[in-house]
């Protein structure tokens, strides 16, 4: 993962006032629970205006990539709540979601602000990450949940 690239994207999110919350392994990394990942998972507020902010942010970070225009509010607010964006080069990609399962969305996932190189990054709290991960079926998520629980002394029914 290219540190400068990730910072450039996070800076663009902030500049465009994107309403988002990082979840997944990247969010865990911000909390010091480190494991390798390929993707940056984010929940975004499901409004047309916010999806336009997301597009502007990606255009700012990847100005030579016309595929950013394929990220559409009609999809993310409709039948396709998950969109994956692979930038034109590099080794990270973005999983953008407007809802996760039946319950989780930008509005329901508790978040806190972390700061890195002066960039304010909205990150799901350890408890919120634990709740997102503990009910899923993937073994990797269950291991993440266990690591979060141990690191932050979370109760099982958190």
């Amino acid at each position: 993962m290219d540190r400068d690239e990730l910072l450039r994207v996070l800076r663009a999110f902030e500049s465009e006032a994107l309403e988002y919350v990082l979840i997944g392994a990247t969010a865990m990394g911000f909390h010091g629970v480190v494991r390798a990942t390929e993707d940056i998972d984010l929940l975004v507020r499901a409004t047309p205006e916010n999806i336009e902010r997301l597009r502007r942010a990606f255009r700012a970070a990847y100005p030579d990539d016309p595929s950013v225009d394929e990220i559409r509010a009609a999809d993310l607010l409709g039948d396709y709540p998950a969109v994956r964006y692979y930038p034109p080069r590099g080794d990270l990609f973005f999983d953008v979601m407007t809802r996760l399962g039946e319950a989780a969305s930008f509005d329901t996932v508790m978040a806190e602000v972390k700061e890195v190189e002066g960039i304010r990054v909205r990150v799901a709290t350890p408890g919120a990450l634990y709740r997102l991960k503990k009910e899923t079926v993937r073994p990797l998520d269950r291991r993440d949940a266990a690591a979060l629980r141990e690191r932050f002394n979370l109760s099982e029914d958190e």
């Binding site: 911000f30 994956r84 692979y86 993937r138």
Partner: protein
């Protein structure tokens, strides 16, 4: 404590890994970079959309499996 000694592999595996907290972001990025260096992958490019998270995860698995071949 740069060197730790254990009487068994089980004891070693049970011991917590010592890390310095406070530099989480950089540790995370370095760890991902090391992983990529060891296991580089070729990704498709562009935008893909999914009806469910499960669908998205399955697509990611396919890319991972193709890249590992």
């Amino acid at each position: 404590m740069p060197v730790q000694k254990f009487r068994s592999a089980e004891e070693m595996q049970a011991a917590p890994v010592q890390v310095v907290y406070g530099d989480a972001f950089d540790r995370f990025v370095r760890h991902c970079a090391r992983y990529r260096a060891i296991a580089p992958r070729t990704y498709p490019r562009g935008v893909f959309r999914f009806r469910t998270i499960e669908e998205a995860q399955a697509a990611r698995e396919r890319v991972a499996n193709d890249g590992d071949r």
